[in-house]
Symmetry: C2
Subunit: 453 residues, 2 copies
């Protein structure tokens, strides 16, 4: 494998410029809901009410459009692990959790290969998963931990007993394989779902690519997230086998008064992310799912990349060069063209000698929507660490997860970054996959039920 | 490698029976300090005052002997990430943090091989580490993130900026190698420090054993713990190289009103742990360090084992058998002889047919202090997960860390468990190391300074 020029898309710059004083930004970052035009009010209010008394604070907050986490994490940095997010939608086309949800502190991502070629097996799995996720997000087990007198195998492995919901969300994705010749679902393939082509600087490990299904479990307690994926994987036995997994962590950014989280390179990551209702509608939620794919309306696409960072090389670099690579200052995250973190970068600002203050091959210059036809994607990444590699060096990086209404938007960006980004010297894309993420089901239904009709 | 009979020491039973209503237990679990006879009052009060205004709530709480975490986690399950633990001792023989400290939610453990054979190199490293740990535990960086105009390599990698102290403690240990022929320190070797011998059912991976130095960084934020070890490892360059590492997580047990945390087998872990002042003095703190090792008085020994759990096999077992293996019920953690979690197990109670209710080869029967000459060790373990193994199965288990005033106590216990424990079918000890843990230094000094005099 050649690793001389690697790539990566996932850091302090990608999307739009939202000033902290911008009222849109404040509103959007405090909403854990979604914004499908015309559905907003009724949908959220009903979502809060629909789950009943057990929802408590989180439900009440969701009903008013206020993110319960924001209240918990703002200012005092404390965290309330009794918070929960409802699973079921109360109107068609509402998205699943874990996309616009304010990022929780931990994430377990796992993909699966279907070992069946019978569509009803997949259907049953999605139905079982949906019922189980609804339980898990409410802080409950997926079934009995101690079946009658212990004379049976437990339906739930038990390690999350008493830990509470911890803001868990589990997001389910369907890979391109679901629509191949096996299941007779080819004519329902979402318009933009196809395996990600080879991109410049790709350094993929085959064992960390693809999958027919994906689970993204995020929670404020790692044991709650791990338990969810473990027990859902267990439920898939006989229908799907585990393919690859990444465990991530990160401090949430819960609003303008909370600082932007940092990646393991020490730089702020997420300054110019998708935040407003309008941006979500334009760039994230699927409005035109394609012929036969009406079941995807209100859904989105998930692109996941496991991006290894060569931390020991990075740590030996002088900070002025690190800043040139990103195009921002390290501590404040201000663009090198001046101002503070949320100042819009001026890619034309130049020094006396005519060189631009922000290097044209810096990460923020190449990734900026201004340089990419206005395209933005929602980034929702986590840091990961796998301990040490075979050379005794830190093995760590970024679990890059992004949501968009057309994966081509990611590909376009990464083609450019993979070819030219100064960051390529320090990162390596080793994992990759794409999934269609259907909207949330209504109570009594399950994820993607409409796909099987 | 044969794995038919593996072993493990690390779970729902090991030490003393402490009833929740026992006043000793309530007191001890709410103390994050220590209990060297005669030092307690002055030491803790001074520790709180010594760190100055920056200590805030945590310092004030420590000064009164009340664990600040208990207040934060009791009842509402919320967590205050602005809490901090002071690093420096204010009297001789006070222990380092991370031993009696109420377990934080995350842990990064790492060992190092010394690449120097010059004692002053080791001395300088311990001095630098001590100064850095004092900074880190106060929520500060170990040096400049952006040196003058960025024209230099950052002293701190920056990813924990603004994250606060998050109750960080970093515990430093010295392995047997420090006292070999290299450094001229052989005559100062602590009485009981020697490599752990091969024990029954050992299935060790050479790459996960030993080390001349250890760091155990625990915090309520994983990025804070990771940053600490990363930057301390960076500081060791040229003097020591990284050997092995494990990243752990777990929900803290902060007192009688907080439930006992569960391991990944779904069972409560830590019900009969060392808790009282008297037990700490008898079983944990070193009172007789040996000839030439006066520098260890008030310290302790750290035994660390990486214990893999065969979770997929375990998950397929009927719960009644799982309960027989542990000797306790799964949900409540009550001994199979009856009662509730904190009821003292009755190892003689029998069914009508004469068989004991608690199997003689169950984990709690073999590990009980009643069956081991009254010996107890302090367990302070974390769950870990390494993703998937080469068979696509969950690769996870327990980062077992225990503290005791003689590692032979662990060896004695593990010899028995490794030979007979029913749990051996489901676990495998793959990593192992032992370290002498000196007491905390006073301000102006550093860890183990006395060793070099």
């Amino acid at each position: 494998m050649t690793t001389e020029h690697e790539q990566h898309p996932a850091d302090p710059d990608r999307a739009t410029a939202q000033h902290p004083a911008d009222p849109d930004r404040a509103t959007a970052q405090h909403s854990s809901g979604f914004s499908r035009r015309g559905l907003l009010g009724a949908g959220l209010a009903a979502a809060g009410a629909g789950v009943g008394a057990a929802v408590g604070i989180a439900g009440a907050a969701a009903a008013t459009g206020v993110n319960p986490l924001a209240a918990a994490t703002n200012g005092d940095e404390s965290l309330d692990l009794s918070q929960q997010h409802p699973f079921y939608a109360t109107a068609a086309g509402q998205p699943q959790g874990g996309i616009r949800t304010v990022p929780q502190r931990h994430c377990v991502f796992m993909t699966f290969d279907l070992s069946t070629s019978v569509a009803t097996d997949l259907q049953v799995l999605l139905a079982r998963w949906s019922a189980a996720i609804a339980q898990l997000q409410a802080g409950k087990t997926v079934g009995s931990v101690e079946p009658a007198h212990g004379n049976g195998v437990g339906a739930d492995t038990g390690e999350a007993l008493d830990l509470g919901p911890a803001s868990l969300t589990v997001t389910v994705g369907l890979g391109p394989g679901v629509f191949d010749e096996r299941f007779g679902l080819a004519d329902k393939r979402p318009a933009h779902l196809a395996a990600i082509p080879t991109l410049p600087s790709d350094n993929l490990d085959e064992q960390l690519t693809g999958g027919d299904l994906s689970l993204q479990a995020c929670a404020d307690d790692p044991q709650v997230a791990y338990h969810a994926v473990r027990d859902l994987a267990r439920m898939a036995r006989g229908t799907a086998t585990v393919r690859w997994t990444v465990l991530g962590f990160g401090r949430a950014s819960a609003g303008p008064s909370q600082s932007t989280p940092r990646n393991l390179m020490g730089f702020k990551d997420g300054t110019r992310n998708v935040t407003t209702d309008d941006e979500f509608d334009r760039f994230v939620w699927v409005d035109q799912p394609g012929d036969g794919a009406a079941w995807m309306r209100g859904g989105t696409y998930q692109v996941v990349r496991k991006i290894r960072m060569n931390l020991e090389t990075w740590d030996a670099d002088v900070v002025s060069d690190q800043q040139r690579v990103f195009g921002r200052t390290k501590i404040d995250g201000a663009p090198l063209s001046g101002g503070s973190e949320h100042t819009t970068p001026d890619f034309h600002a130049a020094h006396g000698d005519g060189t631009t203050k922000i290097d044209a091959r810096s990460h923020i210059a190449l990734a900026a929507h201004e340089a990419n036809g206005g395209v933005k994607i929602l980034r929702r990444g986590y840091n990961y660490t796998d301990g040490l590699n075979q050379y005794g060096q830190l093995d760590a990086g970024l679990l890059f997860a992004a949501y968009m209404n057309d994966p081509e938007h990611f590909e376009r960006l990464q083609r450019k970054l993979g070819a030219s980004d100064r960051l390529n010297e320090y990162v390596s894309h080793i994992g990759s996959a794409v999934f269609a993420v259907p909207p949330a089901p209504r109570k009594g239904s399950y994820i993607a039920e409409q796909l099987f009709r």
